[in-house]
Amino acid sequence: MKLSPIIEMKNISYQYPDGTKTLKNISLKIDHRKKIALLGNNGAGKSTLFLHLNGILKPTSGSLYFDGVPISYKRKEMKKLKQAVGLVLQDPDSQLFSSTVYEDIAFGPRNLGLSKEEVDQIVNQTMSDTETDQLKDKPPHLLSIGQKKRVAIAGVVAMQPQLIVLDEPTAGLDPYYVKRIIGVLDDLHAQGKTILLSTHNVDLAFQWADEILIMNEGEIISQGLPETVFMNEEILNRSHLDKPWIVEVYEQIQQSSHHKHQPFPKSKKELYSLITERR
């Protein structure tokens, strides 16, 4: 039996009260156990799309399906949707408002009406999953930016969502913290969650994701496997994106090579062994 996608958008458009359209007729399926990267220039509509996924914004037209069932935006349904789709905002400062890290992570589970013991158990589990246990009693405002980002993710993970949506989780982080965040996301993915993140980093998207979405002016102009999407130069140009360097170097090598049709490299390592083999 095939599972329904966690979330499906059918012909969703969204218009702000002042008339500007930020989403134009978007249709999109988000399947279970995926790692999806959403790319697109500043102002392409990525954040607006995210706010639709857990029902914070209601589309002007079109409909949203959750587990195959259309959402009617009634209170009870919304609660289920928000629990299933966790949203991590870009700026952790606006997300962390409690007086300690523990309280902040406990905020969501408590709203689900769990008992004190259950909440405690979930929070402790989440803190160890997201490597935030050390920070338990600290107030969010004394954390470093990398720690804040992890606590913000923890607060969402604690609601045990099926889909975790992250708005530029790696922006402003140094490479070390980027790796830690990606490590945490990979662990969550291994536990069966779907991860959807937006980023400007094509190299990260190429190496990490197994599905790429590209947005431009409120539309999804490309969707598919990284190795397919990033070969389409017209799409990349239109959305002001660079080619991942692995793809570019690979193409250069291919051009200058005699034996074509090697397997496409998905990582630095694969590329380098390709270079070495050519000796």
């Binding site: 928000k82 949203l87 400062d93 007086s99 309280e103 969501g108 709203n111 009693d137 969402v156």
Partner: protein, 258 residues
């Protein structure tokens, strides 16, 4: 400036039960205000200051600076209280110093000197009690105590939000202030006024955005109705109470013997 807050998380007493710290500091505070006794006040001041500096580990230099903070208020009010101005004919008897100006007499009486001396000691003791509390107790602990005192939930929620936004806006304020100074704002009174007004409006606009973002964050985590209660995992400690009771009895003993 918000390093008092930083100390509450980084001092050696931060995981002592907040209720114990509140009972101790408030107890000493109220008793010294009520007893109006110089020796008791001195005793409280010394105990509280040494607990704060040597016990909790607050830097002495910082603690001294904090003590100087209310000095201006103290000097102005004490000065006001000591010096009396009355029509010449109303002069009292216990005058230490006086000067006559036309029909008026400006003077310092012994009673007022005695009263203000006691007041200075009481105030010093009270301040040391308050500093002990605010330097060693994290906000979470204060919140816990307020909750136990049955302060209305909505009030506590507002307190939590205010605390959150204070740090968001503080950071923003600092950044805008740096940006303005880097471009030579605040150079004279007129520039100061206009730079400051722009700074305040800048924070205002940022404020509204952070409120909107926070609402999204809260809604996403299913919390639009109410912020649930805080439950800190604090442990009571019998020896704290023994310590508190013994300090209180010592105060009583000093009071009775002096």
């Amino acid at each position: 400036m918000l390093h008092i807050d930083r100390y509450t998380y980084e001092n050696r007493f931060n995981d002592i039960h907040p209720l114990e710290k509140v009972i101790f500091s408030f107890g000493c505070l109220i008793i010294s205000i009520m007893m109006k006794n110089i020796v008791v006040s001195l005793f409280v001041f010394i105990i509280m200051s040494s607990l704060t500096v040597f016990g909790a580990g607050v830097a002495l230099r910082f603690y001294l600076k904090l003590l100087l903070l209310p000095l201006m208020f103290l000097l102005m009010s004490i000065g006001t209280m000591i010096i009396s101005i009355t029509p010449k004919e109303l002069k009292t008897v216990d005058i230490m110093w006086s000067i006559d100006l036309f029909k008026w007499s400006v003077y310092i009486s012994e009673t007022s000197v005695a009263e203000t001396t006691i007041l200075i000691f009481i105030v010093s003791a009270s301040i040391s009690c308050m500093y002990f509390l605010i330097l060693t107790t994290p906000f979470q602990g204060i919140l816990w105590v307020l909750q136990k005192m049955k302060v209305p939930t909505i009030f506590l929620e507002l307190v939590v939000f205010t605390y959150h936004f204070i740090f968001v806006l503080w950071k923003k304020t600092r950044e805008i202030h740096i940006a303005q100074s880097a471009r030579l704002g605040y150079q004279n009174y007129r520039l100061w006024l206009s730079s400051l007004a722009q700074l305040i409006v800048g924070i205002f606009i940022k404020s509204i955005r952070s409120a909107q973002e926070l609402n999204i964050a809260i809604e996403s985590r299913g919390g639009e109705e109410s912020i649930p209660q805080v439950d800190g995992n604090y442990r009571y400690n019998r020896s704290s109470y023994i310590f508190i009771v013994s300090i209180f009895s010592m105060m009583l003993l000093i009071y009775c013997s002096s």
